[in-house]
Amino acid sequence: MHSHSEPGLSRRDLLVAGAATVAGSAATGPAHAQDAVNTSSMDTVPRAPVHAPVRFTVNGREHALELDTRTSLLDALREHLHLTGTKKGCDHGQCGACTVMVDGVRINSCLTLAVMHEGADVTTIEGLGTPDRLHAMQAAFVKHDGYQCGYCTPGQICSAVAVLDEIKAGIPSHVTADIMATPEFSVDEVRERMSGNICRCGAYSNIIEAITEVAGRAA
């Protein structure tokens, strides 16, 4: 008999451990649960969700939200603020589609809870430019056809903007030859730093051309 529980943990343990980090694993978990603890599902009364207030600024606009504490920053943007330019590709920090800048640093917004960002300054793809007033990076992506289906694109663009800043700020990467020296812009530096943003359509060659053009312009 296979059961649907996690080995060695009761339902209560799971809930206490924090639903946001463990929920979902049971529903999609591996099939090797023969030795699982069979808990009766009725011995656990699920708790009402915990809500908390949070204020942060997104693209220059301040927002005060009352959120389920399990809400990721990504879902706060997409589902509560209707800023759907930031994409959910995996919800597990594996693809980069959800990349936004928080206080000037790019992060995977699916991997962080919204309530952790009290007072933060968030920039999303919508904050960079609009169809009528494209940011230089957005325009370069259009010119070099640095996208196909468009789903990874906002994440790629947010990452690209941040990557150029990171190089300028002297932050080394895995391919920086001398980590004590100031890193120089190079396509290998950019490829390395952009490698957390998957593009399954395979627009990489064009994306690098777009970023290179913007770097040249900015330099």
Binding site: A19, A31, H92, Y151, C201, Y204
Partner: protein, 736 residues
């Protein structure tokens, strides 16, 4: 419009708009995050509820008990949909396994329940409270083991004949002075498109609308109606933006059915995105293959016998991976045989992924050709050209409509610097790197499919195209806009393109690299009809009317195009339909792939340093977006060569690496600058557009070109994809 005689001169030949490397018209939306994908339609349904999918924890067996009471009482939960309470459901025409499983389970992560709640967090938490007991049954999960029981698949339009025979293959192979007999394997692949399958469903009485992510609107419409036992007129499918598909979104999938059922149960709109860890096992994948290739040739390198057999597996009732397709057409040879064998496996459903058949088939055949060239001591390009053919080698009465295969290879050799290649492997060294160059043919068929459109002209001279064609990143919006602009003589800014809605005329859809040629030909046909209406209204003789610069001209009269619609919009609707030109002529696309690879002499790490594809694919409708199709396919092919593999747990019956961390696809650091050259070609037998598909040509052969480059670098031949270092590290040449 029936297309049954070769195209002659037509307005597309002007190439004022068509054939220009225009930026995509949807670019500003996609780059600003304002293109709306299915899960993001806050504009069409306020406050939808959220669905969370539960997948089966066993690959085969039965659900013996399901306790949903805790989930049902969990905060925010509106409904729990299961096979038990969903009401009677049929199975879609294009589905092999049911999209909502239970009590029978047909594969791992088959959807067995949807928990609907006020918020995503609540739905996810409640899903963890559903308790399911299974009685698992033993299944068949190992292709190598199941191979002995494999049988010839049933012939149908997609599969083709299970076997072909010409001449006396066995006799000719036995007598050939130079022979090759090798077996190659390709693993299961996952589409891994970036946008998960997602749907927002809303009911209005007995009418259902789904905003979804699907490549083939009419198929989805038909199969959703069939599954829910509704008339298809009561179902509307909308899919204007699709975050990648690659064949994984050709069919109705669980997200659509569950969102519709969830919305019915909850009494309000519901949206569902398949959670990423479900996708690999819940949806379809490219099946693994075992391929045996035998080639016999004279010492001069003339193929006298060529045989290709392929084994693959699928669920009961499924189909084979048609990996022998290209071997029926690509090279000459008097004595030939191909055969496919299908084994029943209880793994998730196998189905089309980018260039089904040819993608894995070319991965094997084009290594075999490289090996054979080496045995013969002939340059691999020369060997291929020596066995070129201008007719279908199985049916010599059928010429190719156009076949610039040798030209592609020669041009590629020149541009890539093929001269510099040392035909003896393992000879070139740069520091710690072993350097190799490899090539392979590219080949993929061109398919003709009926495709319809509606085109409207208004008094301002604006042209609006509506068709259920989809843009899955392929550039459909733009090339359709270019076609209408060329035909109506307006700049592309004057054209509005609306796609992906089942209320629009049925198109070819996106798949099999058939979208671009057929969908634009459908728009061409409709514009021809619209032009007739326009000239009639303006009192022109339609024979000599010229549509250009926003005007219609005939003799010395010129009128603004919009004037024709001064009294009201003019709407034309038509479709392109085909005669037998694709039966009388074999229509295919050709190319050559060239790759330079570097292999670390100490660690075996492989890096791709250069890639070039030369393509002959008819008229290129937009060189910018067509090039992107090819580089994208080259990237996916590089993944297939070096890293992609759904790892099968043959005891527990599922793909283990079922997310984007475990299933590795190429990232930026894996892909160098890529070059693409299109031969200047038109194919008047393909359609009035004289175009062919190109989106899959780019993946056909590229994996073998990588494999051949790695061989040229190291001298170690790997015949089991992906070519990971564990398969050759111990055989690398002495590093010191």
């Amino acid at each position: 419009m029936k297309f049954d005689t070769p195209a002659t001169t037509n307005p597309i030949d002007q190439m004022k708009v068509v054939g220009q490397p225009l930026d995509r018209i949807d670019g500003p939306l996609k780059t600003t995050g304002t293109a709306p994908y299915a899960y993001e339609r806050h504009d069409v349904a306020a406050a939808p509820a959220y669905g969370y999918v539960i997948g089966s924890a066993v690959p085969k067996g039965r659900i013996t008990g399901m306790d949903v009471s805790a989930a049902q009482h969990a905060p925010g939960v509106l409904a729990v949909v299961t096979a038990e309470n969903a009401g009677p459901l049929d199975k879609g025409k294009y589905n092999t396994a049911k999209l909502l499983g239970g009590p029978e389970i047909e594969h791992y992560h088959q959807a067995v329940a949807l928990v609907v709640a006020e918020s995503f967090e609540q739905a996810r938490a409640a899903a963890a409270l559903v308790k399911i007991d299974y009685a698992a049954e033993p299944g068949r999960f190992d292709l190598h083991a199941a191979r002995v029981a494999a049988f010839p698949p049933e012939e149908n339009d997609i599969t083709g004949p299970p076997e072909t025979h010409v001449g006396d293959f066995a006799g000719a192979f036995a007598q050939a002075p130079v022979t090759l007999d090798e077996t190659y394997t390709t693993p299961d692949h996952s589409h891994a498109m970036m946008e998960p399958h997602a749907t927002l469903a809303a009911w209005e009485g007995d009418r259902l609308t789904v905003w979804t992510s699907n490549q083939m609107i009419a198929w989805a419409n038909g199969d959703l109606a069939k599954t829910l036992r509704m008339p298809k007129e009561k179902v509307r499918v909308v899919s204007p933006f699709i975050g990648g598909g690659f064949g994984g979104k050709l069919f109705l999938r669980a997200d659509v059915v569950l969102a519709a059922l969830g919305a019915r149960a909850a009494g309000r709109p519901v949206k569902v995105a398949l959670q990423r860890p479900l996708i690999a096992n819940n949806t379809t994948h490219r099946p693994a293959t075992i391929q045996r290739i035998r080639i016999g040739a004279t010492r001069e390198g003339v193929i006298t016998a060529i045989g290709h057999e392929s084994w693959s597996g699928d669920l009961e009732g499924g189909g084979p991976e048609t990996a022998v397709n290209q071997t029926r057409l690509l090279y000459a040879g008097a004595n030939r045989m191909t055969a496919m064998r299908l084994a029943v496996l209880d793994l998730p459903e196998g189905n089309a992924m980018r260039a089904p058949g040819e993608a894995p088939g070319m991965m094997a055949l084009e290594i075999a050709m490289d090996e054979m060239a080496e045995k013969l001591g002939i340059d691999p390009i020369e060997f291929r050209i020596r066995n070129d053919t201008q007719v279908d080698p199985e049916k010599p009465e059928r010429p190719f409509s156009a076949r610039a295969f040798a030209e592609c290879l020669r041009l590629g050799a020149e541009r890539f610097g093929w001269d510099a290649r040392n035909s003896r492997p393992g000879q070139r060294r740069e520091g710690k790197w072993l350097i190799g160059i490899g090539m392979a043919a590219a080949f993929r068929n061109n398919l003709l499919m009926k495709s319809g459109a509606r085109v409207r002209l208004d008094g301002e001279g604006r042209v609006t195209v509506e068709t259920d064609m989809t843009d899955i990143g392929t550039g459909s919006y733009t090339i359709i806009g270019q076609t209408a602009a060329e035909m109506m003589g307006v700049p592309i800014e004057k054209v509005t393109v609306r796609l992906g809605d089942s209320t629009y005329p049925v198109s070819a859809g996106s798949g099999g690299q058939f979208g671009a040629n057929n969908a634009t030909a459908g728009v061409y046909a409709t514009c021809v009809k619209l032009r007739e209406e326009v000239t009639q209204r303006l009192g022109f003789n339609s024979e000599d009317a010229v549509f250009a610069d926003g005007h219609v001209r005939a003799g010395n009269r010129a009128v603004l195009l919009g004037a024709a619609a001064a009294e009201g919009d003019i709407v034309a609707e038509d479709a392109i339909e085909y005669g037998d030109l694709d039966e009388r002529y074999q229509q295919s696309t050709f190319g050559g792939h060239f790759v330079e690879a570097a292999v670390d002499a100490y660690t075996g790490e492989t890096r791709i340093r250069r890639m070039l594809a030369v393509c002959a694919a008819g008229r290129i409708l937009n060189p910018k977006s067509a090039r992107s199709q090819v580089i994208g396919a080259m990237t996916m092919g590089a993944g297939a060569a070096l890293m992609e593999e759904l790892a099968v747990d043959t005891r527990r019956g599922f793909f283990v690496n079922h997310d984007l961390a475990g299933y590795e696809v190429p990232v930026h650091a894996d892909i160098p600058h890529q070059e693409v050259i299109f031969l200047d070609e038109t194919d008047p037998l393909s359609s009035p557009m004289k175009a062919k598909g190109v989106g899959e040509l780019g993946i056909c052969g590229v994996g073998a070109a990588v494999a051949n480059a790695v061989y040229n670098a190291t001298g170690v031949r790997v015949r089991d994809y992906p070519i990971t270092l564990d398969k050759y590290l111990d055989r690398l040449p002495d590093a010191a």
